[in-house]
Symmetry: C2
Subunit: 468 residues, 2 copies
């Protein structure tokens, strides 16, 4: 008797607070579509290079990934900025968005391949990437892949941790080659965990020394990732200071010459940010809209690259070190904001005392990152709407975990409406599953034309390997 009463009072309180949150939400403004070069036509439809997004799903199916070639080229060129000196060497982190059509376009712009597995190495070679434009990283490199990489003379082989040096040295000895090698290290603020030897405590220095003394390795590089999304000059400065201090000590102690400084990836996407646990809780409990980031607070690609080049030069000069070649391995910053995921409202589920569910044909099966990051969502045919509501956005896979956002203010929705989830070009595709629903097609919008990069999975594809 008491429990139902408590439940009902709680429910009443929650309803009241949701109403308040919805009033607050009404004032919160979405990020403007022009950040992605999207336009809104007279009918209130979101368009990309003249193509109404909703019409793309009518033609190519729903859900649908849409890649924007111009944005890819713009980002690639910004990374290769060469104002006032030689540009960085840029290798795209394949794992971030391993779509051959996207990779090809980046390679055509002069971007190399950063691979972390035998499969990715195979893919880069299949796409015709020159081995001298491939960097090989990661903690799980098979012996076969090491043989391939060393045999072909790839640009750089980074040992993830000290124990890997022995394995790499053994394969190099077997092949009678001396691969250009780096050692991954961690600064006090960067990720550690399974990646890299920590500078603090001396493990990094010991690993560098071991690499230098291994006659089968041409040890020339330090490899470091900030790890968390890097947004500010201060974060970059600290990363470089600790890494160059390490290079300096290694030079003095045992004559290590830093020829290649590989700064990894980590640069953030200005329009995406990790959700704080507070924002997540407010979203889940009171349907409060998630706050969009201020795009101006993240270094733009060109500013970041110029800063890297300037700080490395200055930092080396200050320490009396020769200025090394600079390698970058961008992932999310290069492709994240060049792709969007279109999904259709399959059905609405109303409730008497809570916000309705909009149940979509895409959920965590295709957009897992959305559960831990803010991504802008638009109703692609209702950009001029005047009625708004708060919706819980659920996916199709019949799992209670398949909720993208617990509250999202959107124009009044109806079944068949198309939503656009922005910044789908980092970690959406590699984390995608075929959980009960085949994976969708991917199209490229390029200079006003639309062409397929990947067809949707067919039912038969999902049992391709069965009953062999």
């Amino acid at each position: 008797m008491i429990r139902p009463l408590t439940r009902r009072s709680k429910q009443a309180l929650k309803t009241a607070l949701s109403t308040l949150a919805q009033h607050r939400n009404a004032r919160r403004r979405p990020l403007p579509p022009r950040l992605w070069e999207l336009e809104v036509d007279a009918a209130g439809h979101l368009t990309l290079e003249g193509h109404a997004l909703a019409e793309l799903t009518a033609r190519w199916g729903s859900p649908l990934h849409v890649v924007h070639a111009a944005a890819l080229r713009r980002n690639a060129r910004a990374f290769l900025d060469d104002e006032g000196g030689p540009p960085c060497e840029v290798y795209y982190s394949y794992k971030t968005n391993p779509i051959p059509g996207v990779l090809r376009l980046l390679h055509a712009e002069g971007i190399g391949a950063e691979v972390i597995s035998e499969y990715e190495l195979w893919l880069a070679l299949r796409l015709g990437v020159d081995p001298a434009r491939i960097v090989f990283n990661g903690p799980v490199k098979s012996d076969a892949s090491l043989r391939e990489a060393i045999g072909r003379g790839i640009a750089l082989l980074n040992a993830n941790h000290r124990e890997e040096l022995t394995r790499i040295g053994a394969v190099a000895a077997e092949l009678g080659r001396r691969p250009i090698t780096g050692v991954r290290v961690c600064t006090s603020a960067s990720w550690g965990g399974q990646f890299g030897a920590p500078i603090d405590g001396g493990e990094a220095l010991a690993a560098i020394e071991e690499a230098c003394r291994n006659p089968h390795l041409d040890m020339r590089a330090l490899h470091v990732h900030f790890g968390a999304p890097l947004r500010t000059e201060e974060q970059l400065r600290q990363l470089l200071d600790e890494t160059l201090d390490l290079a300096h000590v290694a030079a003095e102690r045992f004559g290590f010459e830093l020829d290649i400084l590989d700064l990894g990836g980590s640069l953030a996407i200005p329009t995406v940010q990790a959700l704080s646990s507070k924002d997540k809780r407010l979203n889940m409990t009171f349907l409060a809209d998630l706050p969009p980031p201020d795009p101006g607070r993240t270094l733009e690609i060109r500013a970041y690259v110029r800063l890297v080049r300037r700080l490395v030069r200055a930092g080396c000069q200050r320490r009396g070190l020769p200025v090394p070649r600079i390698v970058l391995e961008p992932g999310r910053a290069l492709t994240g904001n060049t792709q969007l995921l279109l999904t259709t409202v399959h059905t609405l589920k109303h409730a008497s005392n809570a916000a309705p569910y909009a149940i979509l044909d895409a959920g965590i099966n295709l957009a897992q990152s959305v559960q831990s990051e803010f991504h802008q969502v638009y109703a692609a045919t209702k950009m001029h709407a005047s009625n708004y509501g708060s919706y819980r956005l659920a996916g199709p896979i019949c799992s209670p975990g398949d909720v993208l956002y617990w509250g999202c203010t959107l124009p009044e929705l109806a079944p068949g409406d198309t939503l656009a989830i922005m910044d789908a070009g980092a970690y959406f595709v590699p984390f995608a599953t075929s959980f009960s629903f085949p994976q969708p097609a991917i199209v490229l919008v390029d200079d006003g034309a639309v062409r397929p990069l990947r067809r949707a999975e067919r039912f038969e594809d999902l049992v391709l390997c069965d009953d062999p």
Copy 2:
């Protein structure tokens, strides 16, 4: 100056506490292998029906899923228990482990198909399942799949929510058929969210009434899932009480006749349990081993099924309702403990002041569930070991999130060792991704023989749909 000092004191404290935790861990005993009909041979190797697990990876590759046919048959037969009356009708939840070879074996035992998508419906029909042995659920049923399901006369079509009744009715009208229909409802303790109409507040009753009044629907069933893992008689009792009360009210108000009571899935696996946030924190911070569940605290399948049949009979008699057919849709309870995932230690990464990482060839790409559940892990060739250590188990995908457990007491490991992750038969396969590494093979151990159910993905398979 102060920050590094604080960091070091914190580190020292952490090291001391980890040592304590490791002492405690040494006393914690793993679950015994006989729970899975595994044996340990004289050399300390874990074997299944005479096959050393580590030799299976040598023959079929690593990682490797191993399905145990005898366990599948045992579970299927327990669900179909008919002592003292007609058995329940049992439909396997395809989404839980959609491997055609597993599904075929279950169908041969008399288990039907519970599907939640157009793809799963296609798969069931392709496997030769009689439409009268298919139940169709889920919030996202395409019109095409409804046409197929209704046209072929499937056993039961459950509407996920009220709004879906209109869509089902429209397709039924178009085909001139009257499908056997149910309505999904939620009790006070069961999942709600995007699934089902809540009993509390009257939404369920309204949905049932709407279904009864729709001339195109043969409304006969209530569908309810407990949702969270169901372990006890008390949980089942409450679920049935609220559902049968609802059926009783619906019978009195508008003459609804409950012909089919569909109790969904939810029965727990005795050897798996969700991790509490406290256990997770202790594991992450102090490497404290995760506590295994007491298998005796979860209803066994046969006990559960007998209880269901007894309680439904008694509950209906008490309310003056005819006893309905009982439908079950087990997922995890039917296949969870019939499969294990073998993975190889690729490399170790030692640290001066922390437990080493064992970096495996399988991580969250293949075993995502492990991050939120206890799963027993064995070192398959070291069951007689005397030296133990605490390891952090990381996967291969170069993401900081790819850690399965932060502390796991295991025999002293070396590269090449095989680990067995138990209870891999629920949600490992559907949540698997091809993130940088192709998905592994699946073999069946059946009556002493080993045969492949699914070959490993080839590199070419991963770009099968590209450049169409």
